[in-house]
Symmetry: C2
Subunit: 254 residues, 2 copies
DNA sequence: CCATCTTTGTGCACGCGTTCACAAAGACAT
DNA sequence: ATGTCTTTGTGAACGCGTGCACAAAGATGG
């Protein structure tokens, strides 16, 4: 750990820019919606609008995948769905384990967006013996003691961590040791992983803080807006000193 | 609803780059942890390691806020905590409403990371009459009919959407009409909002799809191994880029 | 077959973000 | 004071991502 030096030299995965990869799921969702409405073809302009991006960007993104469009017509929806799915690896089955079955873990287990895209919740794991055996989203919760066996028996390579912050690194280490090479982390902690292991982080409070920053800026500049005093919240008198409020937020209080 | 402009206006918010703003919460968390351990000062190198970023990047980030460090010593932890909190607008109270109290909404309501950073869940809102009146995380759920009144009475400017995809746009429109100017969207949909409203998106399935892409690539490059290709990929020393600092992505602004 | 129209695919330029490398600044010891 | 040591703050170079603008490619109609 302590990745002191040699950071990633280039972030191009097989010639496809990382930024493009991050948008492919967006296109895929829009295309899937079109497919369900039996729309045969779509132009870059239309699809871009549906995905909320610039049409030039979309065309460039697709150009990295190959030339799948027809000039003067657009893109074949079904064909493009297949190509993007294949590129993202969604044509195969990805068994996933969720560790930490609190409120968030349960929400994830129930989330329908997984199964519809090749992800299969292979197991739910929690350290609380009281949960063991109970079913969440129709899947029985298993105890952390069996983590390694579960990973290996199911050939799991993607793990989701939804534990409290304090347990995240330990769980991460065990997942990696057992063979997991991709981790989606919901715990508010920086995880250390060896090279070759991908970690993506989702942090609910960080997103809100970024919004707060912009919100504060908007409120501050609103003093000059022509529009009458908006009903927007007035900057309340600060008072709550940072205080040592239990910062370490447990993702779930069991 | 002409164009779904959900991407940031690329406006250098008060001279502070967007990328820097996105990292400030990361620094803040690391600093808070140091503060609780009564560490008086910290060097850019140490703090960068704790936050999982490059030290040069961290110093440049702080340089946008001003010169808060002492050469030869480092940064005063308490002072920096205050400066970043103030910059992010966390020294004031931010009432927030959560719309859609399903599994995810409940998880968010219970999430401890909000209250500890100036965010206060002012209300929970759901369209299901069966939920109305029931308490989740100690907060009574109110009906969607009262959405506008709740927003205005509480001076809410930040809304969290955790509804099914089909209801998201409608909820969004009502929130915006009632005065909300920042939205955190968990529904898998592209929201259309007028200028001046910020939207940040968190999409669980998109993150997994991005991981799957890299996972597939790793597996594909390992095909050279004599093994017939078992489903379980072995963590192997490989030049898998994508450094340890998994930045958000999609959310990126998504 | 030719003209015209539509839409893709991409060369190019620009700006943002990242990283390096080092001078400036302060602490500390002598 | 002076020198040495540590660490910040930043100028500059570089690479990536984005968006413009247009030529190429194919459809379509006469």
């Amino acid at each position: 750990m302590a990745t002191g030096r040699t950071h990633r030299p280039a972030t191009r995965s097989r010639g496809i820019p990382e930024a493009t990869v991050a948008r492919l799921p967006l296109y895929l969702r829009a295309l899937t919606a079109l497919s369900e409405r039996s729309v045969p073809t779509v132009s870059s302009e239309e699809l871009a609008a549906a995905a909320g991006v610039n049409s030039a960007k979309l065309r460039k993104d697709f150009s990295y995948l190959g030339s799948y469009g027809t000039r003067g017509v657009g893109y074949d929806v079904e064909y493009l769905v297949y190509q993007i799915s294949r590129e993202l690896g969604l044509t195969q089955d990805w068994p996933v384990v969720i560790v930490g079955i609190g409120n968030l873990g349960a929400a994830l287990a129930n989330y329908g967006g997984f199964a519809s895209r090749g992800f299969r919740v292979a197991a739910l794991i929690d350290a609380d013996p009281a949960l063991t055996g109970r079913a969440v989203a129709g899947i029985p919760v298993q105890h952390t003691d069996d983590l390694e066996k579960i990973i290996q028996d199911n050939g799991v390579s993607i793990g989701v961590i939804a534990t409290p912050a304090g347990a995240a690194q330990q769980v991460c280490d065990r997942l990696v040791a057992a063979g997991v090479t991709s981790i989606l982390n919901f715990a508010p902690t920086v995880l250390s992983v060896p090279d070759g292991v991908d970690v993506r982080k989702v942090d609910l409070s960080i997103e809100l803080q970024i919004l707060a920053f912009h919100e504060q800026r908007k409120a501050g500049e609103e003093a000059a807006t022509p529009d009458g005093g908006g009903p927007a919240a007035v900057a309340r008198k600060e008072s709550a000193d940072k205080g040592p409020d239990g910062d370490v937020p447990a993702v779930m209080p069991a």
